[in-house]
């Protein structure tokens, strides 16, 4: 395509800008814009009006009642949250106790007061290959006592009683 043709194309593209209605059409655009703007405002107003009308007859639409209901809700919410908080605290204490029990078990069974090195010689230089077994036996008692305390100190493990049998 030659340059002359391309110039014609460019000119034709610019001419497309004038593909608009006559000036008479544009003289009415402003008034039409105002009328559409008003009708849109009316639609949004009528929507809020309808919403108000729909809720007007309901008991909670009265501001005084709304305040009362709000205050009651706050009180209920406060007590509910307080109860939940206490429940959470007791649960978290149990978790801490459980974790401590495990920690005692691990430290007493695997890491006695004198820990073993890889060649069976403890940190004080004594050969103590038999010691872990003794300490493990000792720690098992500790473990059981720890676990018993944990179960007894919190909620019962079962609700079944002797009477049930």
């Amino acid at each position: 395509m030659s340059m002359e043709n391309m110039d014609k194309v460019q000119k034709a593209l610019v001419d497309l800008r004038n593909e608009v209605p006559s000036d008479a059409y544009f003289s009415g655009v402003l008034s039409e814009f105002h009328s559409r703007q008003r009708s849109q405002q009316l639609v949004s107003k009528s929507f809020s009006f309808r919403l108000t009308e729909a809720f007007k007859d309901l008991w909670f639409f009265n501001p005084a009642r709304l305040v009362q209901a709000g205050a009651f809700s706050i009180v209920v919410l406060f007590f509910t949250l307080n109860g939940l908080n206490q429940s959470w605290n007791s649960n978290s204490t149990s978790l801490v106790n459980w974790y401590r029990g495990e920690a005692v078990q691990l430290s007493s069974s695997l890491f006695p007061e004198t820990y073993l090195t890889s060649n069976g010689v403890n940190s004080l230089g004594e050969s103590s290959l038999a010691r872990p077994v003794e300490l493990a036996a000792l720690s098992l008692a500790e473990i059981s006592s720890e676990r018993t305390q944990y179960v007894m100190n919190t909620t019962p493990a079962a609700y079944d009683s002797v009477v049930a049998f």
Binding site: A12, L16, R17, E19, V20, P21, F26, F33, Q40
Partner: protein, 199 residues
Amino acid sequence: MDSIQSDSNEPSDLSLVQRAQSGESRAFDLLVVRYQKRLYSVIFQIIRHHQDTEDVLYQTLIKAHDNLSGFKGDSGFHTWLYRIAVNRSLNFIRLRKSHREMSIHANEEGDFDIIDEGVVNEVELQENRSELQNKLNVSLSKLSEDHRTVVNLFDIQGLSHAEIAKILGCSDGTVRSRLHYAHKQLKNYLFDVKKGDRS
């Protein structure tokens, strides 16, 4: 380009916007009168249908009026206004396209007929155009939405690359690349149309 003014005695866009923002409705009316033709042209070149263009034009003006407080003056007022118009127009044709697809699907099931007003309108318009303009319109219609929009804003409306980038929310390079591709495609389509005429 901060504002488009035909007369140096007329108030600038920025001063009119500030007056409109402070509650002077007459100032916004002056902006409407100033930009109505250009907005119409921008929207029409995307939508290609007069009645739909009219609807989108009013939607654009109402949206611009409602969101005028959000205009900070970072870009020119006309750039901001064109951005609203282009976004509205593109949304409109996407909706129209999906609606048409749904209509075609419904028609296949024998529910109702398709009346493609856009095509009818286009045929009526073509009677008043030159031969080259008709060919150009056919070629433009073959471009993708993005490429057609860039050609519309650059070649038809005469905006700069930077302004188009702000309107479309993309980089200057993207605009140049799209424009280059669109021109290339347009040449190919026009050449094909001419070859078709000869044969």
